[in-house]
Structures are given as C-alpha cells and as structure tokens.
C-alpha cells in the first residue's frame, strides 16, 4: 500500500496565504513517516488534512492511487485510523469499553458489538500488552496509559494506515519508549505509521521518512537522514544543534542536542 500527498496546499481562511504549501510526500507499508516543525507551524493541521478531517484547498491525498477526497468517509476510515492527542475524557469509560469504540466503524447504528468485536478487542489488548488496564476507569489512568488505549482503539478499526498526533508528547522516558516501540512494531507488521513529534531524535529512532515544515510554508521531505541534517534543523528550528551518533551494544542511535538559539 502507498499513501501519497500530491502538490497539496491548505489555508484556514479563503484568500489568505497558504499555511501549508506544495506538500509532496509518499509513504509505503512497513514505513514510519515523522512530521517535524516548530510550534504553531501547522503539524497538526497537516495531520488533519491527511486524515480528511480538514480538506486540502489544492492538491490531494491518495491511497494506492485512489483519491481520498473521492472516497466515502466510511471507506477511508476503515483503511485509516486517527489517534488524537490524549486528553481527559468527559465520561469515565472502562478501558475495554473505550477500546471497543474503535469497532464503531464495523458496527451498525442500530446494533451493538458482537462476539467478533469482543474478540478483536481482546486481540488488540494482547498485542499491546494492556491486560493490566482491563477493568480500570480511563479517568484514573496515566497519560501514557491513556495514549496506549487510544492506539489500541485505533487498531480495533483494523486500519492499514495509522496517523498519530504527538503520541509521545507529555510523557516520561519509559512511556515515550513504550509508545515509540509500539509504533515501530506496528510498521514492521506492515502498517503505514505517520506521526508528528517535537523530538528529531524520535524521528531518527523509529522513522524511515520525515517531512519538516518551516517558516514561509517551506517543507523538506525525504528519508530521515536526508531531511534531518544539521543544517536543515538549524534553519527550521532557529537553534544551533549538535548531532551525534552513538553506539549502545549493537544498536546505533542518534542524539540531537539543542545548543543555543541562533541569532
């Protein structure tokens, strides 16, 4: 499967300058795409355009050459699942009830979840190792746990594309790793994962491709190594950085340290 966005532009208001301009990207099964950029530059907007929650003003997105804007929302969301930023829910569902809501697209309006749906929920709970959350109320969970539930809920949709909005923000080290590992594992199983993040090193650790959005609606897309160069990061974020390759055991990892604000 291949997800593409072709010459796409977006602005919230008519006739105003485009917030996102000439976005061209493609991401295939087994790949993780990271979206990077400074605060308020339009990362979440880009995600929302890709999920069809907002509509491109120019250009389009497509899945296997099928244009997204020509698909019914039901068709689209049985292929694509969106994981929003975790926030406190209005009602205190139990974890498994909350995950079950992901089955919504497969359950009719006048119907309720059946045996197959319960089986799917159990399967996802096992896949993400969330057994210890079963029976707990979601308003009592930590941010990391809630984020995992949101991913579980999205997986219940049985998507081929998973789009996550800052999944690891506001989390501590362990929870960050848990979320990032899960995303990588899902991609390795054949899924397309797209996420936006504040951390370039996270893009290095799990990303295959990256798109970085900068001022004046500039954007750079390509493999993580070609996009996240010292020069590019310094230009886009306006800071001086140091990029270092480290080796821990057999694993090579990249650290990026912001040194000072560029004048």
């Amino acid at each position: 499967m291949i997800f593409e966005t072709v010459n796409a532009s977006f602005s919230y208001k008519k006739n105003s300058a485009m917030l996102l301009k000439n976005i061209n990207l493609n991401v295939e099964s087994n790949e993780v795409l990271a979206i990077l950029g400074p605060n308020g530059i339009g990362k979440t907007t880009l995600l929302k355009c890709m999920t069809g929650l907002l509509h491109w003003k120019e250009g389009f997105s497509s899945i296997d050459k099928r244009r997204v804007d020509e698909m019914s929302s039901k068709d689209f969301f049985s292929i694509t699942a969106y994981v929003p930023q975790a926030r406190n829910p209005a009602f205190a569902y139990k974890s498994e009830e909350f995950i079950m809501l992901g089955r919504s697209i497969h359950v009719g309006n006048f119907s309720k979840p059946g045996k197959k749906d319960y089986e799917k929920v159990n399967e996802v709970i096992e896949l993400l190792a969330l057994q210890k959350l079963v029976g707990k109320f979601i308003n009592r969970l930590s941010g990391g746990e809630l984020q995992m539930l949101l991913i579980a809920r999205a997986l219940c949709q049985e998507p081929s594309i998973l789009i996550l909005d800052e999944p690891e923000s506001n989390l501590d080290f362990k929870n960050q790793l848990m979320i990032l590992d899960s995303i990588r594992r899902l991609a390795d199983k054949g899924m397309i994962c797209i996420f936006n993040t504040h951390y370039p090193s996270h893009a290095f650790s799990i990303g295959d491709k990256a798109i970085m959005i900068g001022k004046n609606s500039q954007n750079i897309f390509g493999s993580v190594e070609t996009v996240l160069t010292k020069k590019n990061i310094e230009t886009v974020f306006g800071v001086n950085v140091d990029i270092a390759k480290n080796i821990s055991g057999k694993k090579e990892y990249t650290t990026i340290t912001a040194l000072s604000i560029k004048n």
Partner: protein, 337 residues
C-alpha cells in the same frame, strides 16, 4: 468482559424492578382498594374480562390508577433516557433537558397553546417547537470560535432557561385569572394529576417511539460523547446522529411537558445514578436509566398522590429527593463525574 450470569442478573433486575413497583403502587391510593383487592381485580379483568368486576372497581383500577401508573412509568423512563442522550451529544455529564433550557422552552410553548385553549395535540406541537428552539439557541450561543466548553454550555442553558421562564410569566400575566391562569399554574408545577387514557394515547406514543430509537442506538451514542474529530475518525456521521438524538430527546421532553408540566431532576439524576452502578458505557446506562427513571417517577408520584389528603405536585417531590442525592453524588466524586 462479563460473565453470562451477571448479564442475565442485570437484565432481569432492570425488567423486574418496574413490574414489582407497578404491582405495589397499583394497591396504593384512596377509595379503599388495598393491594389484595387491587391485584384480585386486575387478575379478574385479565382472566375473565371487564364484566367480571364491579363497575366502580374497574373504574378505580383501570381508569384512575393504571392510567396514572402507566403515565409515570413512560414519562420517567423517557425523561431519563433523554438526559443520557443529551449528555452524550454535548459530551457533558451535567447536561439535561432542564439545564439546556429545553424544558423551559417546551413549557412556554405549552403555556402559549393553553392560553389559546388549544387541544392536547396543538399543545404538544407548540411545546416541541419551542423546546427545539430553546435547545438550538443554547447550542448556538455556547459555540464560541468553533469550540465548545462546559461552562459556556451550562451558562447559555441557564440564560435561555430564564428567558423562556420570563416568557411563561408573560403568558401567565395576560391569562384569564378565573379559568386559564389556575390551569396553567397548576399544570406548570408538574403533576400527573391530569392523567387519563385519552391524553396518554395522544402523548405516550412519541415518548415510547423516541425512547425506543434511543435504546436502539445506545452503543453508538458512546462515540458521540468523544471529541468531534475522534467521532468523525471513527466513521460516524456526526451531524445526522446529533440531530437525531437532539430531536428524539426534545420530542420526549416536550411530550412529557405537554402532559404533566415541568418535572425536573430525572434527566440529570437517573443517568448519574446508573453510571455510578453500571459504569459509563451507554450500552448499559441507557437501559438502566429507562428502568430506574420509570421506577423513580412512579414511586415519587405514588407518594405525591397518597401522602396527604390533597395532592402534592410530583415535581416538588422529585426536586426534594433529587437535589440532596445529586449533591451527595457530587461531593462523593469530588465533581469528577
């Protein structure tokens, strides 16, 4: 995932509870027909037909008590499920037909129709119309810059509610003091006193149909309680679903208001009680609310008609019981409901 036994147990409680209350309440009241007699008369009517019992007994049991009990069960269940539906639509557990101003709007519509001595059908339509108008105003006012928050919603509900209360006062002010004003005043207090089969046949079907629709979509209403983007990305057509739920809830509220005036608290209290017992999944909350709401109003009404020689309006009782229970719930959960 639950065991089969607890599922069966839960279902049978929800069904049995209203039936038991019905059997108890049919034997309560004046005219000296106790439980034994009432149940005997009921059994005779069911087994041997209308002719097998005395005319007076038939009239008391069927025309007076049974009609009133049916009305209480239907209205109580309806108001409670309307509350759950609105709470899901607005993703806000503090919303109810009262807090959104729907009930006040419907009251004004009904009072206006009563002013012109309209028949029950016209009263219902007018109540529905103004109920929906009130809800629409509340919703529009509360939407600031595309977003929506709890405080704005509750505040605009209060504002719209008091606006329509003022309109009701205006109607009362111009009403004929001998005939119409006492009518409007007593009816507004909220009472099932006026129950009779004729009005039930007119007023109950919309409540039953809309409650049934809400019952059928009960699982999907969960999705609506999430944020707009989430609900959309779960494949829901939010606009239609919202409209359907608001419409159903407004029809229920308006029908109840046009038959028995403004009976508060049920739409707020019952869903909360059920959430406390069964959790937040509307798959369980909606059936439980229907059952508990029906039972709650039936018990309150039975007290209101039999406690003193003259009847106490039932809305006074629901408020007297509802307010302290709700306060207790709020305190116990620290407002985190």
């Amino acid at each position: 995932m639950e065991s089969r036994i607890s599922k069966v147990f839960y279902r049978s409680i929800l069904i049995l509870l209203p039936i038991i209350c019905f059997l108890i309440c049919i034997g309560v009241g004046r005219y000296g027909l106790g439980h034994k007699d009432a149940l005997r008369v009921l059994a005779d009517i069911v087994l041997h037909g209308k002719a097998s019992v005395a005319k007076r007994e038939y009239s008391i049991i069927i025309n007076t008590r049974l009609s009133r009990i049916s009305l209480a069960l239907i209205c109580g269940g309806g108001l409670a499920v309307a509350g759950v539906a609105l709470q899901s639509v607005f993703s806000n557990p503090l919303v109810s037909p009262d807090t959104l101003g729907v009930a006040s709007g419907a009251s004004f519509g009904a009072a206006l129709a009563l002013l012109f001595k309209a028949n029950l059908f016209a009263v219902q339509i007018s109540a529905l119309l103004f109920g929906i108008i009130a809800c629409a105003i509340t919703y529009t006012v509360s939407r600031v810059k595309g977003g929506q928050n709890t405080i704005m919603l509750i505040l605009s509900g209060i504002i719209v509610g008091s606006l329509f209360q003022a309109f009701v006062s205006m109607v009362k002010y111009v009403a004929d003091t001998d005939e119409i004003l006492p009518n409007i005043t007593y009816w507004l207090m909220g009472s099932l006193y006026t129950s009779n089969w004729k009005s039930i046949i007119m007023g109950a079907p919309p409540i039953i149909i809309c409650s049934f629709i809400l019952f059928m979509v009960r699982w999907k209403t969960n999705v609506l309680s999430l944020s707009e983007d989430e609900a959309k990305s779960l494949g829901m057509n939010i606009r239609y679903m919202r409209l359907a739920l608001i419409l159903c809830s407004s029809v229920i509220t308006s029908s109840v208001v046009s038959m028995c005036g403004q009976i508060g608290w049920i739409g707020l209290l019952m869903p909360h009680m059920c959430r406390l017992i069964f959790g937040s999944d509307n798959l369980k909350v909606i059936p439980a609310s229907i059952s508990f709401g029906a039972v709650f109003l039936l018990i309150c009404d039975t007290f209101s008609r039999s406690m003193t020689v003259t009847e106490v309006p039932v809305s006074i009782l629901t408020a007297l019981v509802g307010a302290p229970i709700f306060l207790m719930l709020l305190r116990n959960t620290g407002g985190n409901i």
